[in-house]
């Protein structure tokens, strides 16, 4: 079944690294998108919804926490699976993100196995 993915991170290099690691995990996507912050990601989702979003937390303009909250209020992304990818690892923050609508959490540094574990449940 065809799946689409969006990577949201303010670092263009980190977006490439995440894409490389997703490929190494063996997961395949028919379409991939990128955005440099939460606001840009919301705009792209309005015109081109995706199945899964991998989203950083600390970003300028709109951070990952605000992105999750706003994405959950939009019809086009209310069913999108949002996995946070960040160096932040505080349990309070993770609890807050999950209660706001995030579907999972991956800490940096990460491995292909970690992506496979977290994304596979959403691939079918």
């Amino acid at each position: 079944m065809s799946k689409s993915l969006m990577i949201v991170d303010d670092s263009a290099t980190m977006r490439k690294i995440i894409m490389k690691t997703v490929r190494m995990s063996g997961l395949e996507f028919d379409r991939t998108e990128e955005a440099g912050n939460g606001a840009e990601a919301l705009e792209k989702l309005k015109t081109s919804a995706v199945d899964i979003v991998l989203c950083d937390i600390n970003m300028p303009e709109m951070n990952g926490v605000e992105f999750v909250k706003q994405a959950r209020q939009m019809d086009c992304s209310k069913n999108t699976k949002i996995i946070m990818v960040s160096t932040e690892s505080g349990q309070d923050l993770i609890d807050n993100l999950m209660s706001s609508g995030a579907n999972g959490y991956i800490t940096k540094p990460f491995t292909p196995e970690r992506f496979q574990e977290k994304l596979t449940p959403f691939m079918n």
Binding site: A12, M14, T87, E88, G90, T111
Partner: protein
């Protein structure tokens, strides 16, 4: 507050986690003083600040050649020669970001409220951090793949508030 030696071991453990997991380069301690890399040309310094119960900054100083090698490994490329300085700097910023994240995770039982900034990277020659007074310095000098010297410095103090 964390002892200087404890902090230096924490920095080394965090750097090892980052380099072994995502960069696939061997990182080993290399003495107590940074090697002079001024003859190797341009250098980069990535830094990230933090505040909360502890405040200060973490910096990573390395040569441009080393930074290109790191960026190439992170991106799965054979060589970093074709990468722009912006891309290379971006990779150094991510190393600082991930190392600080790992340090934060390791000390979160003592400092539960650390907030970390977005990393910044500068390039130039003979770069070194200049903190204000009263900061304790934890410094870890390392070599990557037995070739490149890399220095991690953390300046920190207990917050007043």
């Amino acid at each position: 507050m964390l002892e200087q030696m404890t902090m230096e071991q924490t920095i080394l453990d965090a750097a090892r986690e980052v380099f072994e997991t995502m960069i696939f380069m061997d990182i080993e301690p290399a003495g107590s003083e940074p090697q002079d890399t001024s003859s190797e040309g341009a250098a980069l310094m990535g830094s990230i600040t933090f505040r909360g119960g502890l405040e200060g900054c973490l910096t990573i100083c390395l040569s441009e050649a080393c930074a290109r090698s790191i960026a190439a490994n992170m991106l799965g490329m054979d060589s970093g020669d074709q990468l722009s300085l912006s891309e290379v700097g971006d990779a150094v910023g991510e190393v600082a970001n991930m190392t600080m994240g790992s340090i934060k995770h390791r000390i979160q039982n003592t400092y539960t409220d650390l907030q970390v900034s977005i990393p910044t990277v500068v390039s130039g020659r003979q770069l070194f951090p200049m903190p204000g007074e009263d900061f304790t310095r934890g410094q870890v000098c390392t070599t990557l793949d037995e070739i490149f010297p890399v220095t991690f410095s953390m300046y920190y103090k207990q917050s007043q508030s």
